[in-house]
């Protein structure tokens, strides 16, 4: 037996250099005994002096990380367990740390978990009391951690309360912070901390008021806040009364039933009228000002109560944008994710590409009006994304009368169909985009329809070379369309 006496209960550095010595001398785990200075030696106390540390061994980082936490555990076996795992890691089981089902690893993980939980509960349940001292205000707390975490967790309180002066007293250690440096001392007693504090009645009142007696679940409370912590938390004095009164309070609320409305209800002082606007049923779009007519059409569509189901799941209606009288009217498929949020057409990735292509084709923005065949975003949620869903024939047919009226008000000389959905909506029938592309077909009221691809098609082209080619072709299409109205 070789006995190692460590200077402190959670001194990883000392354990590490001792373990290095033992490992270098080939001392197997059964032959090593560990204790902390001041502890009584074991029954088979070793007498051989531990060997001096030799060169460092390579161990997985996961082991060091786990050891750093687990060594704070109060279990006297922790040093031996750590050494056994170290031995196994260096004697044929280099991947041991990944074997979460191994009994030693399970135990070590459980120790680390208990230490982390203890630290977390210290951060959570420790309560300071404010005392006036000759040197000014000081915050002091009494806490009883289960494991050797005082040194390790002092930093948390320094980071949080760097500007205060405070002391934490535990049965094993005291920690003092004077605003500049930390000092550690021997353990203290509960009586070292004053029994109450001027703010505690308010805190207890808050605790009692935030509790909902209709949801009594004391087991759930105790699972997270075990009784052993209660004696150092002032608010827990309220618990017996709250639990005892809860069934009666809840039953009374239900038994009392509804009450009469207050004869003097709270009144708004300058609340604006509700933002909801009655739909404008101006079916003939007779407003003299075309801008006003477009706005009225948008309101009418937004307010309809027979919208398709998917429209109710969209954030908002996305109507067309641009100057009435624009000679070129671009019609896309439907708003996408960004358009839906911003309430404006062609502001997402495809819209930015269209803007770039229009600029390159030297089409002035003042001469274009942009809109979509379908005016709500149709999507399928997938995690944190909404996946675009193509509108079907019924969706296109629903919005078509509104699109035709929009065209009637804008009064373009040429309609540009961006992709299949727009082409279908404008031509009134399904046509193949790639065959129709670059030609003119007849649209509503005999207006010519020029067809090209939807800019989102360009975003989906896989290789770079094809992308450049397709983009150039799209710019050519825009230039050709513009030439017809120039």
């Amino acid at each position: 037996m070789i006995a190692t006496v460590l200077p402190g209960p959670a001194d990883l550095g000392a354990w590490r250099s001792a373990a290095r010595g033992l490992l270098g001398a080939g001392v197997p785990p059964e032959q090593a005994e560990w204790r902390v200075a001041g502890d009584a030696p074991g029954l088979f106390a070793g007498d051989a002096a531990p060997p001096a540390a030799t060169s460092p061994f390579h161990v997985p980082r996961a082991f060091v990380a786990l050891a750093e936490i687990a060594i704070r555990h109060r279990d006297p076996e922790r040093f031996a367990l750590l050494y056994r795992v170290l031995w196994r890691l260096t004697h044929g089981e280099p991947a041991l740390m990944q074997v979460a089902t191994d009994a030693d690893i399970v135990r070590l993980e459980a120790m680390a978990k208990a230490v982390r939980r203890d630290a977390h509960k210290m951060h959570a349940f420790l309560r300071f009391r404010q005392v006036e001292t000759e040197a000014g205000v000081r915050h002091v707390a009494w806490f009883e951690p289960e494991h050797h975490i005082e040194e390790a967790e002092a930093g948390f309180f320094v980071r949080r309360f760097a500007g205060l002066r405070w002391s934490i007293v535990t049965p094993r250690r005291t920690v003092h912070w004077d605003g500049q440096e930390l000092r550690f001392g021997p353990g203290g007693r509960r009586q070292d901390v004053p029994p109450d504090d001027a703010v505690e009645p308010l805190w207890r009142a808050y605790y009692a008021a935030i509790f909902n007696p209709a949801r009594l679940k004391p087991g759930a409370m105790r699972a997270e806040m075990p009784r052993k912590y209660w004696r150092n938390m002032p608010e827990t004095a309220e618990i017996p009364r709250l639990i005892a009164d809860a069934p009666r309070r809840a039953a009374e609320m239900v038994a009392r039933g509804a009450s009469l409305p207050n004869p003097n209800p709270q009144k708004p002082r300058h609340l604006p009228p509700p933002s909801h606007v009655e739909p404008d049923m101006d079916l003939l779009d007779t407003a003299a000002d075309p801008k006003e007519a477009l706005a009225a059409l948008a309101r009418e569509l937004a307010g309809r109560n027979d919208l398709p189901d998917f429209a109710r799941r969209a954030t908002q209606l996305v109507f067309g944008e641009g100057p009435p009288g624009a000679p070129l009217m671009f019609v896309g498929e439907q708003p996408g994710d960004e358009e839906d949020i911003q309430g404006r057409p062609f502001v997402g990735p495809a819209g930015r590409l269209l803007d770039r292509a229009l600029a390159e084709a030297e089409v002035p923005r003042g001469e274009t009006y942009v809109t979509n065949a379908v005016k709500h975003f149709k999507f399928e949620p997938r995690g944190k994304r909404r996946l675009h869903q193509s509108p079907d024939a019924g969706d296109i047919a629903y919005y078509r009368p509104f699109l035709l009226r929009e065209i009637g008000i804008v009064g373009p000389r040429l309609l540009v169909a961006l992709g299949a959905t727009a082409l279908r909506a404008l031509a009134g029938k399904a046509l193949p985009v790639m065959k129709t592309r670059g030609t003119l077909v007849e649209g509503p009221e005999g207006l010519p329809v020029f067809t090209t691809v939807h800019p989102s098609f360009l975003l989906r082209v896989p290789d770079e070379e094809a992308q450049r080619r397709e983009y150039a072709r799209f710019v050519d299409d825009l230039r050709a369309a513009h030439a017809r109205v120039a």
């Binding site: 990944q98 679940k217 609340l271």
Partner: protein
Amino acid sequence: MDLRQKLEILADAAKYDASCASSGTTRRDSTRGGLGSTEGSGICHAYAPDGRCISLLKILLTNACAFDCAYCINRASSNVRRARFTVEEVVQLTLDFYRRNAIEGLFLSSGITRSPDWTMEQLVRVARTLREDHGFQGYIHLKTIPDASPELVEQAGRYADRLSINIELPQAQTLKQLAPEKDLPAICRAMGGLRLRIEDAKDAARTARRAAAPRFAPAGQSTQMIVGADASDDATILTTATDLYAGYRLRRVYYSAYSPIPDASRVLPPTAPPLVREHRLYQADWLLRFYGFSREEIMAGGERGMLDLALDPKTAWALKHRADFPVDLNRAPRERLLRVPGLGAKTVDRLIAARRHARIRLEDLARLRVSIAKVAPFVVTDDHRPRLLDAGDLRDRLIPATAFAHAARPVQMSLFG
């Protein structure tokens, strides 16, 4: 009225909001001045006998409110006692509680009294005073008023870690009926607006000079839906939830069982809160976000648009998809392991790491603190083949004998019996 009475009224008025999160914001501390810190994970400083965590000082600035939402204790026509904090009182309470290590920060909301902007301005003033006058580094969650002006929302996002707008009910029609002044489309537009600002601030922080990035609600936005105040079924609630997560990138959707309030409206008489249903919705929400389940799959475990109350939704789904089982713990890919009832995401990852070096046996699961009774019918290991997978009474065997499940049973029978 003294401060304590105000605190009692205005905490009572705030307790039906389930959110208490204090996690997921930027890391800050007070070593260069000020008070407080945030270190990533939230801290629950106490638990009330309702089992809920107390992390933040959760209060209203005032419970006076011009809105008449039937489900709300603070509605205009309620007979509840009204109170109002001054900005300074809220600031002082926050600092006093924080210095005693009793809270992580403040969750401030308010009834709407004069106008949306006036109310929002008051909330922003509290947050600004805490941050600028007291160097407060703790967590701040502000309720956002949907119709508040963009400038005020901008300021709220600068001082707050999290912003939230409660959707309250999953459908526009029922919200209109129970909360006539509220407007679901306006709420959604406001959440969309918050999403854009949150993303812009994140992008700016990633790309531009970090220090110059405009701060906006680094802990994101959340919302709450009341369960059981209207007739919406679980399918409707989860449809809305998935749309909210996907559309507005919410960090959390909270589900709050409609609870009796001291002064209930005649429109919504008080009844016992549907706590089991609320719990199942949270479990379903978890499956949606972390286990790769779709809403349709989760609902397939229930009947007629409602989740199975007696079983957790993963077990309920598995029972109706027995052909997908058993799953071989030594071979199955991660996605399949995540579908095994009783295996959490963490356990799955540990099993995958462990099986590269050793064979998994059933007893290993016990060491990892997995419930064997729950898992065994659905998995294969070297020492175990399930026998009960086709048993007609497997469902009954899997219903846990806890008081919680017991509470669920009578309701279960009336629903599906």
